[in-house]
Symmetry: C2
Subunit: 198 residues, 2 copies
């Protein structure tokens, strides 16, 4: 076939297909991606430098769903909105958190989302030295929560039939093991309390 009159591939097409693939199958591999695109594996390298660039493209795409700051909101509400948006994104694509945490952020859209959060805290009067601390803590918690989505529920399962505190807790609240939402809100509340004390 060689070069087609109109290009089959593009960065966008590749990134979109990669996102679908990882959402459906849980993994992102070049052979499967090429198959889905109806193209040879090596063709992909004419549009992206490597696999990491595809992952970064997905991160860029998803980062567009972060809300922009709203001056009418308190910083607490801004933080809650930012964190819940982050979580919503990762819940929709749970297998991506590991991919994201392996490569550093380089795209502007994602960096902009962090920058927005920093500006919210800055204009709320937080001391500059505490802003990095605060963002690190918030980011740690939301990333960790996303990580748990795929991991922790399997652990609860191994406790269900044992007479231990965890087993009792689970029998008392069978929904809790599958409702990490409540745990997220608990932690978010705590983090904001800690920030208010600064």
């Amino acid at each position: 076939m060689a070069r087609p009159r109109t290009p089959i591939l593009s960065q966008d097409r590749i990134v979109t297909a990669a996102l679908e693939l990882i959402d459906e199958t849980g993994t992102l591999t070049l052979p499967l991606l090429a198959r889905r695109l109806g193209v040879s594996m090596s063709s992909i390298y004419h549009h992206v430098a490597n696999r990491a660039e595809i992952v970064e493209g997905i991160r860029e795409l998803l980062s567009r769903d972060f809300p922009r700051p709203d001056p009418s909101l308190s910083w607490q509400d801004e933080v809650r909105r930012w964190m819940r948006a982050y979580r919503r994104i990762m819940v929709a694509h749970p297998h991506l958190i590991v991919e994201f945490s392996i490569n550093p952020v380089t795209n502007e859209t994602t960096l902009r989302a962090y920058e927005d959060l920093a500006e919210v805290l800055e204009s709320a009067g937080f001391a500059l030295e505490t802003i990095l601390e605060a963002i690190t803590a918030l980011d740690s918690f939301v990333c960790g929560s996303a990580l748990e989505l795929t991991a922790l529920e399997q652990m609860w399962a191994s406790y269900a039939d044992r007479d231990l505190a965890l087993g009792r807790a689970q029998r008392a609240a069978p929904w809790a093991a599958h409702s990490p939402e409540a745990a997220f809100e608990l932690g978010l509340t705590g983090l904001i309390l800690a920030l208010e004390r600064l």
Copy 2:
């Protein structure tokens, strides 16, 4: 060589070497592990079922460093002790967090550590339904903090020379970007505050 008079390998030897390997190189692969053990790759499979079992062996090994509950401590101090121990373990072996989060926990030692924490909360009077929530939030935060160790500092670097809030924050506190310890303590304080309100 075939079968040696006295076995060269054992689960312990394999797991120990695997831990050294991942600490030194950042990755765990069977070929490199075999080389380090001075053995053929397929020999390993006579002692462990697969790669995941090696990772689980490492988790078991490290989990022995969790403190046992101390009845003389308040539940707050118990939680702090447990979280800091967890963090200390992961800081010493930052590349393992991704490995751990991929496979479910199956070994007794690690399960015991979670069970201990559950019992601390139970005898502190926490409602059973809230125990899973609390442990999930705590675990999320400490895992996320470990994940950041390798990831976030690279991101701060890309901000150092820009006139943005994050850049300003970093220039005001250059140490903060490399001291996730403070962020961890901030979040831990917040989580305990949230638990106290339950």
